[in-house]
């Protein structure tokens, strides 16, 4: 399997670490157990097109959202997590006392 890192170009799967569904990108608010469940556990688990989160661990250290097919393993699109719009909006970040 090869993934085209937006920074490094096409690379072998061995350079990447897989985290899981893009559900992980939504940080839950304290007290919202539904959101915790949704972030950490419940999955659509589609046999087909999914968006999941990878890390170019042996490369540029970018976190990536990879759009691909879980049946054919075809990779359709690779984006930098940092560039994926809407993540920050979905995450009502309360951290950072400073």
């Amino acid at each position: 399997m090869r993934i085209t890192c937006p920074l490094c170009g096409p690379r072998d799967r061995r350079e990447f670490y897989y985290y899981g569904s893009e559900d992980y990108l939504t940080q839950p608010e304290v007290g919202d157990l539904d959101a915790v469940d949704a972030q950490l556990h419940l999955r659509d688990n589609v046999a087909g097109r999914v968006r999941d989160v990878w890390y170019h661990e042996a490369g540029c250290a970018s976190w990536l959202v990879v759009t691909r097919d879980t049946v054919s393993h075809a990779v359709e699109k690779v984006e930098l997590v940092a560039n994926v719009k809407g993540i920050l909006a979905k995450t009502k970040l309360k951290g950072g006392a400073a």
Partner: protein, 970 residues
């Protein structure tokens, strides 16, 4: 029998080798099979189940019968295809799966018992008495089964792996593959042409026909010369492409050193990972057999292999040969044999309208119904229109038609489709993205057709690569239509083999159907057909045709089993090249490694790192003596320990403080510059990820420390949090673990030691930049031992020198170096945790640090940590344990309430860490105990069944040493 003037072997280079201890002579270019056939050796192995004598069946890697062991000094390779193994001087080959000898094999008794050994018989018996399975039945079955043997000795040979990249990969160098490669070469793209044979040309060399009116081998040589001269072409011989994977990645096995005697540094095999833009699969086709009674005798061979032996090796496999076929292609073999002067006794053609042009008896509409010959074929029985007759013959070439080698097209779950005209499965286009089948593997069987198809498909692939080219003109070659009348089995009495390698007959397949193992997968698994070393290459289509017949379905309805990688077997050593010994994972050495080894410290693995276990001294004979001394040394004087393996992450930026507040449970934005704070990090799921200290080096500059084990994990986590949640924050971080060598100096005399080096006055949890003789260094006043402690960091190049210097200074103060054992005791005495305690299931609540989750802010994992299951009295909580009567205790023991029966239902917890405290003259333990903090002062029963320990312990606060932290603060 060698035929003069035929074959491509080097007649000027005789090669001697042995088979079962007998010396034989062949020529350079021979395989073991061709050389043995040339020497008239017919029986080369015994079959898997019935131990019937077996001879060479094919001339290729699909060989199911002629599997042998290649013997080296102290090592052997089992299940080597005699049809692939090239001979070289000194080669030693042995037959296998027989005892005591190939000729007289005791297990051949199985052949007599065959009525009771039908498909799946073992599922119906051997059930009583129950204990007999492991003790009696299974050992007998295991010994009888299996083929060759491993030596049981480490494989010390060299193997390698490599990566290759190309625009166009061409698999197979027969007519289609050569044309495709030429097309690619001329288009100027990077081409790799891989072929499993030692010489390229494929069936052009075996068939021995003509191209453009000249011998095909001449055309092959010209094409190869062109390809070899092209800088953009890489020719890979002896290279079998074994698997198709995602993204245009293919695996391939190159036999690098198997055709020569072993020599230093020459790898036996190389496992290639080839990444191709586009791929032309020109793998060819395999001839298939016809099942008839006793069709497994030595001397019964595939018809096409006969001409391969004649044309490639100059060998006739028999003196008086017959051909049994249902198609025209087999006539090529008859003609090749006759042209070489071999007596062809007859052609038995199943087709009533078969031509009778050959210069030998041709029986049209006839079938072979039986064979004779105990250790090799002596006669066949033919049923023809006029009745039955016997023909004396020592070699029978069988052809049931051809099966395209669709395997690689199916490695991504594709299924081939049935082509009724060809009576064969053909590949489906697009089943492997970027891979295009050409020639015989696409169902094009004439030489002319293959040549043209190779060019056509290469043009298609080049088009995808953006190179619009015209197909080069194919040369003129044989272009006969492929005429076949399907016949899978000759029905009649006796056993008719489908799968030679696993001894599966048509009866077995019919029995499977009778018992309703009617799906092709059920039949395969019930009969084991297709599960032998040839993976059914010789039998799958025939077997499912018989199954289709038995179940009243068509072959297309019956379908195939799944084709899976590897196409041909690949040694574990090749795919695992580099993994041997220490190669499995990189070794990480601290700068003090050599200095520790100099002091005879046993170096033990800590993840990928090596750390000193202890530093033996004088007459000490056990690790405990050294450890006890080192602990006392730190408690009473001063000790030095290399802690460089801890992860160090340099964090900078205007939002660095805010970022740390997000990833740590506690607050770091309030930490003054020049101070250090202990921090706790949670995973997103609210469990403890890691702990460590972080120093504030400047207003916007922090240095984070992680545990050794979690260094990589934490880096990944920080990258995630930053990129996913706060990509717009101004924070930058980079690992500086490797850049700094860091040493702990701990003990009541640590301050004195430090003072001898540098003048610095640090408060507890303070840090400062210092200089040693021009070298910039950092000092942190932190402690993992409970004593006054400092950690001194210098650039790694100075690490060894500083370690030696610190140890020397410590020794003048009554101290010295200490290792992991002492470090562990010291931290247990102090109740400090390691990953023995934070094992991934632990919450902040469990370790008594729930208060560290700041209420003033959010942090990663806080939401999930709020789940009811992560806190409360039902959780196991960390406590200290002290055994009564100074008994020994052990980590891994479980805890019970005294008086309770020792069983799972009453389990109260377990011990994570144990050390012997020389200061307290007794064992101390850290443990997780149900509702533990409420039970301090109570007694628990500690039970370690595995080490026969059963003692009462007092539950204590986990901090045994200096509870108030007086010594720590100095």
């Amino acid at each position: 029998m060698r035929i003069d003037g035929k074959g491509l072997v080097d007649r000027s280079a005789p090669v001697r080798f042995t088979f079962d201890g007998v010396a034989y002579e062949g020529f350079r270019g021979d395989t073991v099979a061709s050389a043995l056939l040339a020497n008239g050796v017919r029986v080369v192995g015994r079959s898997f189940k019935y131990h019937r004598p077996r001879g060479v069946l094919t001339a290729g890697s699909e060989e199911p019968n002629a599997l042998v062991e290649v013997i080296e000094v102290g090592q052997q390779t089992p299940n080597v295809r005699a049809t692939v193994q090239e001979i070289f001087p000194g080669l030693e080959v042995k037959s296998q799966n027989r005892w005591p000898s190939l000729k007289y094999d005791v297990m051949a008794v199985n052949d007599m018992l065959s009525p009771f050994l039908s498909a799946g018989f073992y599922y119906k018996t051997f059930m009583w008495p129950r204990k007999f399975w492991e003790r009696v039945y299974e050992p007998i079955i295991r010994r009888a089964a299996g083929l060759g043997s491993l030596s049981g000795r480490h494989d010390e040979a060299d193997y390698e792996k490599a990566f290759a990249f190309c625009d166009l990969l061409v698999i197979g160098a027969g007519p289609a593959g050569l044309m495709a490669a030429v097309q690619g070469a001329r288009a100027g793209v990077d081409v790799i042409l891989a072929d499993e044979n030692p010489v390229m040309g494929g069936r052009l060399l075996a068939d021995g026909g003509e191209i453009d009116g000249r011998p095909a081998s001449v055309w092959v040589a010209e094409v190869l010369a062109e390809l070899e001269a092209a800088p953009n072409v890489r020719l890979m011989v002896r290279t079998s492409v074994t698997g198709a994977y995602d993204g245009g990645t293919f695996s391939a096995l190159e036999r690098v050193g198997l055709h020569v005697a072993a020599r230093a540094n020459l790898p036996r095999e190389c496992f290639w990972r080839i990444v191709a833009g586009q791929t032309v699969l020109a793998a060819g086709a395999l001839e298939r057999s016809i099942a008839f009674a006793d069709n497994d005798r030595p001397g019964v061979m595939m018809a096409s292999s006969l001409r391969a032996y004649v044309n490639r090796y100059g060998v006739s496999p028999g003196k008086r040969v017959t051909i049994f076929a249902n198609n025209d292609d087999a006539r090529l073999s008859a003609r090749a044999l006759m042209a070489a002067g071999v007596d062809v006794a007859a052609i038995v053609d199943t087709r009533a309208d078969a031509s009778t042009l050959e210069d030998c008896p041709v029986y049209a509409g006839a079938e072979v119904v039986g064979t004779k010959g105990r250790h090799g074929l002596s006669a066949i029985t033919v049923r023809h229109r006029g009745g039955e007759m016997q023909i004396e013959t020592d070699c029978l070439g069988v052809s049931g038609g051809w099966n395209p080698l669709v395997h690689l097209t199916c490695h991504m779950n594709g299924r081939p489709v049935w082509d009724a005209d060809l009576a064969a499965f053909v590949p489906v286009a697009g089943a492997v993205p970027g891979l295009h089948a050409a020639g015989a593997c696409a169902g094009v069987f004439s030489t002319q057709g293959c040549l043209a198809d190779g060019a056509r498909v290469a043009v298609l692939a080049l088009g995808v690569l953006g190179r619009a080219v015209r197909a080069v003109d194919a040369p003129v070659a044989e272009d006969a239509p492929y005429a076949v009348l399907p016949l899978w089995e000759v029905k009649g009495k006796g056993r008719a083999w489908l799968d030679f390698a696993n001894d599966v007959t048509t009866k077995d397949v019919r029995l499977a159907a009778q018992e309703n193992f009617a799906s092709v997968e059920h039949m395969k698994r019930y009969t084991t057909q297709g599960m032998a070393p040839d993976q059914g290459k010789n039998s799958n289509v025939g077997a499912l045709a018989v199954l289709a017949d038995a179940t009243g379905r068509s072959i297309a309805q019956t379908g195939t089993t799944t084709y899976r990688a590897p196409f041909s077997p690949v040694s574990i050593a090749a795919m695992g090249a580099g993994g041997r010994g220490a190669g499995f994972a990189p070794q990480r050495f601290m700068t003090s490694h050599g200095a520790s080894v100099d002091r005879r410290a046993p170096m033990v693995e800590a993840g990928l790192w090596y750390r000193p276990s202890y530093f033996p001294k004088g007459a000490e004979t056990t690790w405990r003596e050294a450890c006890d001394r080192e602990v006392v040394m730190v408690r009473e004087a001063v000790g030095v320990c290399d802690v460089s393996t801890l992860g160090k992450i340099d964090i900078q930026g205007a939002d660095a403080a805010r970022f740390l507040d997000l990833v740590y449970t506690n607050v770091f934005s309030t930490l003054p510059v020049g101070r250090v704070r202990y921090g706790l990090m949670l995973r997103a799921d609210g469990h403890v990820l890691d702990d460590g200290t972080t120093a504030r080096l400047g207003e916007n500059h922090y240095l984070m420390t992680t545990t050794t084990a979690a260094a990589g994990l934490v880096m990944r986590h920080l990258d995630f949090v930053q990129q996913a949640y706060c990509g717009d924050w101004d924070v930058r971080f980079v690992s500086v673990t490797e850049n700094w060598a860091q040493f702990a100096v701990a003990g009541p005399r640590a301050r004195a030691l430090l003072a001898s080096l540098v003048s610095v006055d640090l408060p507890f949890m303070g840090c400062s930049r210092v200089e040693f003789g021009g070298v910039g260094a950092r000092v942190f006043r932190i402690s993992f031992s409970g004593e006054e402690g400092y950690e001194i960091a210098v650039p790694s190049r100075y690490g060894e020198a500083l370690f030696r210097d610190l140890v020397a200074r410590a020794e003048t103060l009554g101290g010295g170096p200490y290792g992991m054992e002492a470090l562990n005791v010291l931290r247990i005495e102090k109740g400090f945790i390691t990953h023995a305690e934070i094992d991934g299931r632990t919450t902040a609540f469990d370790i008594g640090l729930a208060g560290m989750i700041s209420a003033r802010k959010d942090c990663i994992g806080k939401a999930a940590a709020g789940r009811s299951g992560l806190t409360g009295a039902a959780r196991l909580q960390m406590v200290g344990l002290r055994p009564v009567m100074q008994a020994a205790i052990t980590a891994g023991a479980h805890l019970f309430t005294p008086g309770d029966e020792v069983r799972r239902e009453n389990d109260q917890g377990y011990v994570t860490s144990v050390g012997y405290s020389p200061m307290m003259e007794g064992y101390l333990g850290l443990a997780f105990l149900r509702d533990g903090r409420a039970r301090i002062g109570e007694m628990v029963r500690l039970v370690d069944h595995l080490r026969d320990i059963d003692v009462l312990c007092e539950v204590c606060d986990p901090v045994f040493h200096d509870k108030e932290g007086v010594k720590l603060r100095g």
